[in-house]
Symmetry: C2
Subunit: 349 residues, 2 copies
Amino acid sequence: MSARLIIALDAMGGDHAPAVVIRGANMALRRKPNLEFVFYGREDQIRPVLDKLKKLKKVSRIVHTEDVVDSNERASVALRSGRNSSMRLAINAVRDGEAAACVSAGNTGALMAMAKFALKMVPGVDRPAMASFFPTLRGESVMLDLGANVVCDADNLVQFTVMGNAFSRSVLGLAEPSFGLLNVGSEEQKGHEELREAAAILREVELPGQFYGFVEGDDIATGTTDVVVTDGFSGNVALKTAEGTVKLYTEFLRRTFRSSPLAQLGYLLAKPAMRKLRKRVDPRRYNGAVLLGLNGIAVKSHGGSDALGFAHAITLAVDLARHRFIDTIRGDIAKLESRSPRTAQAAAV
Amino acid sequence: MSARLIIALDAMGGDHAPAVVIRGANMALRRKPNLEFVFYGREDQIRPVLDKLKKLKKVSRIVHTEDVVDSNERASVALRSGRNSSMRLAINAVRDGEAAACVSAGNTGALMAMAKFALKMVPGVDRPAMASFFPTLRGESVMLDLGANVVCDADNLVQFTVMGNAFSRSVLGLAEPSFGLLNVGSEEQKGHEELREAAAILREVELPGQFYGFVEGDDIATGTTDVVVTDGFSGNVALKTAEGTVKLYTEFLRRTFRSSPLAQLGYLLAKPAMRKLRKRVDPRRYNGAVLLGLNGIAVKSHGGSDALGFAHAITLAVDLARHRFIDTIRGDIAKLESRSPRTAQAAAV
C-alpha cells in the first residue's frame, strides 16, 4: 500500500536507552506497515534486546558507534565533539537520504544544534521551532515553539505560524486550519511589540485557513484555534504547566477515590471508563516534538518516555514523511516570501 | 478579638456587579469577624440588594458615584477620565486611610494604573506585580507576576521575589519559604539574560527561606517551591494554561462518567468525594490577585467571578491587612537595598 520507509533511530538517547528505543520501534512496527529501522549506537547493548524481537529484527540493522551525547552536555560542545555520536549519525542518515526521518530521546539542545547544522534550514526560515500536539475540548491542536528559541522576533513568529499551519494540515489533516498568537489578552494593543508586529503581518499574508488573532493560555485547552504560535519561553512554560496540572488533577482524583469506602466502590465500577480517560490524557499519546524548519524530519521524544511514548514519536515521524511535510513547508515559506516584502527582506539578511 | 477593619469595595466592577460584590461581602462577613464595608457605586443599584441582607447592611455604607470604568477601557483613558469612578474612589479610601484594603473585579489595567497612581510604590520597588495562590501537591504556593508587566528586567524579578516571599510568609504563614525563578530548564545557563542575572543577585541577597534556583512549568503544580517568580507574560500564560487544563480535565471526567451505565453508577457512589475534589480545584477558591509593591492593599477579583469567588478575594484582602503585609514588604525591600548595591542603584534611578 504505502512505500517502504526507513527511520533512523538514536538508540542511545533518553533515560532508558537503548531498551525503550528498540521496544518503541517494535510497537510502531505493529501500527505502521512497511517500516525499516536503523539503530545507531552501541551494538553490544542494542543486539541483545533486538535479538528477542524477531519481526523487528527482520527489518532492522545496527550501525555501531561508541559515542553518545550526554544529556547534560552543552549544545555547542556536543556539536563539536559529537560528530560520531549515535544522535549525529541518525541525523546524518536523513541528510544523506538514507532515512526518511530520525527520532531521538536525547539531549534537546544538542539535537537541535546538530539537526540545524547537518540538515540546514528551509530557505526563508531563520530558526527551527519545536512543535507538538495537545488534546483540546474540540480534538487536537498544534503548539509551537516549545522551547527551541527563548527570544523571538516578529518574523520568527510569522515563520512559526506558516510552519505550524503546514504541520496541522499534514498531520491533523485540516484543509483550513485556524491559527492564533499566544498573548496575555485578545485585544489588539496587548502584549509585546513583536506580537503586535507579527499579528499585523499575519493579517496581510495569505495562508490556508484563518488567522484568529490573539489567544490566551486557556484557549490552548479549549481548542479555540488549531494552531497556537508563541516564543519558545512561553511555549515551554505552557507545555510544562499543562503537564504539571494534569499530574496534580490526577493525584487529587486518586486521593478522592481513596477518601471513602463508597468512593472506592464507585471507582471500581467506573474503572473501565476511567482507564479510557487516563488514556486520553496520557502524555505518551502526545509524545514527540517535531523540529520544524529543517530540510529533513527530526523528532524529539521525551527523555523519560517509555516504549509506548517512543512509539508515538516514531509514528509521528512516519506521518510527516508520508505526507511529504518538508515539501509543504518549503512551498508555503516561498509563498510567504514572495507576498510579504517585510518578511522576505528579514529572511534575506 | 481582632480589630475592626474597613474594606472598600468597587461595587460596579465585574460582569455581575453590583449583586455579586454585595453577596460576596455578605459571605466574607460570615467568615471573618469585625468587618465593615463601603460600597462605591450607583446607589440605586446597590441599595435594593443590600437592603435584603440585614446583617451586612448594619456594617455597610454606600458612597454614591455615577462613574464606572468600562471593562474595555484603556488604562490611560481610565486614569484620566475615571477620577470619580467607583474603582478610583475605593482606591482613594485606602490612600486616605479610610479603608484597610480595597477589592475590585473591574478592568485590571485600569485598577493597576489607578492604584499605582493613587497609592504610589513602596520605596525601592520599580513596578507593581500581581500575585495569587495556586493549589499544589504539597499545599499551596504563590506565583507572581501574573500579568502586570509583560517585560521585566533582572531588578524587577528580584523585587518580585522579595514581595512574593513576604506574601507567602504573611498569608501562607511560612517562616522559611522556598522560592524559585520560572525558566525553561533548571540548568544555570538556561533562559533569558535577565533570568540569569536575577538568579545571580538572589544567590547573594539574604531573604528568609531558601533560593531554590530555576523551576519549570510543571514545578508550579508540584509545589517544588513556595514562591514562583516570573515576568507577567509567562505568569499570565501559566495561570491561564493551568485554568484551561483543569477545565479540559473536568470535561473529560464528566464525559467519562457518562460513557457507560456502570460508570454512571460509579459516579453516584463517588459523588460526595467528587464534590470535595471539585471544591479543591475550584478556581473560586483561588480568586483574588494582589497588587504587590503599592503603599496599600488592593486586590483584583476575577471579572467573571460569582459571590463565593468575590468573598475569597475579600478574605484575602482581610488577611493581608491583618498581617500588616505592607510593613513587611517595606522592611524587606529596605534590607534588599542596603544589601545589594546593584539593585539599590537601579531602584534609585
